[in-house]
């Protein structure tokens, strides 16, 4: 089997973005099409799985055709079909998986199943040619808060996870509670720039029995309690100060633990992945601390931080060269482990 000029058509439908991309040799993105449904879900204050699944079915062929067209290739040029098969919303995943399986079957091409989070981690390779394992990666999104040590392209160790809410989930809940709306991450990021991050001291959650694990329900509750108390006493809240202080409490813990892992394992490269990796406060603090410690920080452009299929095509390449293919029984696995 050839190892160069491998073109993979990748499909991603694990949440509310229908996406397809063509990626060559695991680094070169020839196209990256994302059909976002965010406006449809905003009125419900979050992603509605059934609506997301219905939109995926409506959009998927168009998104795939656009990805081929933008890459200036046809199915004949494609060496394999890759798809996210978990973790994510099961109904949403099933659309991509069903489509990818029949595409691979009808075209007689190999099928590759990709772990969504592995995709997020590998998004870092797209714009950083020099980045190679081993590296430490902080994965932060609406559904995930993890620190992974990428020992090799197909060898991950998760050394930290969240005990309760994901970081992005805490952002969403706080944003909803203070009236900033959905999606919480970008809204809080923007409002926090106008506020004083040291106005309120919120607890920084430590988990007693683990050095690296996270817990965000405490700081989230502290924000909600602060708000309730202010409402009862009639005290006026400065929302910008409130969310800036909340954001600082979350971001500081994320950065501290990531740096600690890098130091303890003596790894010089640090990367970030997932939607919350676009958060500007997180980026600047991580940059500052990495510089202090002599670590090299990498993070993807926002377009590769959000859910996208290019990252799936990158991760799929490393499965391809290891001959790790799936058969026609591939199913969606909503709680797929890394």
């Amino acid at each position: 089997m050839k190892k160069n000029n491998i073109k993979i058509l990748a499909i991603e439908s694990s949440c509310d973005e229908t996406a397809a991309a063509v990626v060559e040799d695991g680094r070169k993105v020839l196209s990256n099409i994302i059909s976002s449904q965010i406006d449809l879900h905003t009125i419900y204050g979050g992603v509605v799985p059934e609506i997301a699944s219905r939109k995926h079915i409506e959009n998927i062929n168009f998104v795939i055709k656009d990805a081929l067209k933008e890459a200036n290739v046809t199915f004949d040029d494609i060496d394999a079909i890759a798809v996210t098969y978990g973790p994510g919303l099961v109904g949403a995943l099933l659309v991509g998986v069903g489509e990818a399986k029949t595409l691979a079957y009808g075209l007689n091409k190999p099928l590759i199943g990709v772990h969504h989070i592995k995709g997020h981690v590998f998004a870092n390779l797209i714009e950083h040619e020099e980045l190679k394992p081993p590296f430490v990666c902080l994965i932060v999104s609406g559904g995930h808060t993890e620190i992974a040590i990428v020992k090799d392209y197909n060898d991950f160790e998760i050394v930290a996870t969240t005990r309760d809410d994901a970081a992005g989930e805490a952002f969403d809940k706080v944003a909803r509670s203070v009236g900033l709306g959905y999606p919480g991450g970008p809204k809080i990021d923007k409002a926090a720039k106008l506020g004083n991050p040291h106005a309120i001291e919120f607890p920084k959650a430590k988990v007693n029995d683990s050095k690296y694990d996270f817990s965000f329900s405490g700081v989230k509750s502290a924000v909600l309690n602060y708000q309730n108390k202010a409402n009862m006493t009639g005290e006026k809240i400065n929302v910008n100060d409130l969310v800036a202080s909340f954001q600082r409490a979350v971001v500081e813990v994320l950065v501290e633990h990531t740096i600690e892992v890098a130091k303890d394992y003596n790894i010089k490269n640090v990367a970030m992945a997932g939607g919350v990796a676009s958060n500007t406060a997180l980026r600047s603090l991580m940059e500052e601390k990495c510089n202090e410690e002599g670590l090299k920080l990498h993070f993807p452009s926002p377009i590769f931080c959000t859910d996208n299929a290019a990252m799936i095509g990158v991760a799929a390449y490393f499965e391809y060269i290891n001959n790790n293919f799936k058969d026609l029984t591939l199913n969606a696995v909503p709680n797929l482990e890394l």
């Binding site: 509605v48 609506i51 029984t329």
Partner: protein, 242 residues
């Protein structure tokens, strides 16, 4: 000769069939586990391998278009859309209940497929199939009592006093139907009481000849129902307007 692939995964039945204009060449139907995502495509591969038919011989793909289980419908739809895109074939979206009604033939009774739609409703329609399928009431989601009313009206209008029920809704409502429905009625035997892909393919072929084909890109199931979130929002809006 024109060959059509039929795909049926709207409910518990998973079924695939390849027909030509004279005969059902192969059909593979299971009704025991709801893991269509894992079973449907291997079943297709099995009949393709066994018959030696090449996918390139197909003229179109007919898919059970709903109503039914939202997830089941989407597994069928995604499979048909992916295959249609890969093979550059048109799709035929066959109404699930119309195809079910074709299980009964050469009868003057009203044919009433009922699928358990949960929330105390059935997906149903009313048909006649003496020699040619006639739709007397289109696919709908109603309570079994509402169905009785519509059935009585249709029976009076068509001058028919007998109904044949089939579908997985029979398992749920059989006793209730016996108890409450005054119209003379029967229940289809087990070999005729569930969905099958050859019906989808056969009705699909008729629809294709009538020009009712669509692009694989445009196909999307007919769910008959909104998502729960949309329904709750509609209720909230109606309440607010009082």
């Amino acid at each position: 000769m024109m060959k059509i692939l039929g795909i049926e995964s709207a409910a518990l039945v998973a079924s695939v069939a390849i027909i030509d204009e004279d005969v059902t060449i192969a059909e593979y139907t299971t009704n025991f586990k709801k893991t269509h995502s894992e079973t449907l495509l291997p079943m297709l591969d099995e009949i393709v391998k066994m018959t030696g038919i090449s996918l390139s011989e197909l003229s179109a793909i007919a898919v059970s278009g709903g109503p039914g289980s939202f997830t089941g419908l989407r597994i069928g739809a995604a499979s048909a859309k992916g295959l249609g895109l890969a093979l550059d074939l048109p799709l035929i979206e066959v109404p699930t209940l119309d195809a079910m009604a074709m299980n009964i033939y050469a009868s003057d009774a009203l044919i009433v497929p009922i699928m358990d739609a949960r929330r105390n409703q059935v997906y149903t329609g009313i048909y006649k199939n003496d020699t040619k399928l006639e739709v007397k009431a289109e696919s709908m989601a109603v309570s079994i009592d509402e169905l009785f009313e519509i059935l009585k009206e249709t029976g009076a209008k068509e001058n028919v006093e007998r109904a044949i029920f089939l579908g997985d809704g029979v398992s749920v409502f059989r006793e209730y139907i016996d108890e409450k429905l005054t119209m003379k009625h029967d229940f289809a035997p087990l070999n005729l009481n569930r969905q099958r892909a050859s019906n989808i393919a056969m009705l699909g072929m008729e629809m294709m000849k009538a020009g009712k084909v669509i692009s694989a890109d445009d196909m999307s199931p007919n769910y008959l129902r909104k998502s729960q979130a949309e329904r709750e929002r509609d209720v909230a809006k109606t309440d607010a307007s009082y």
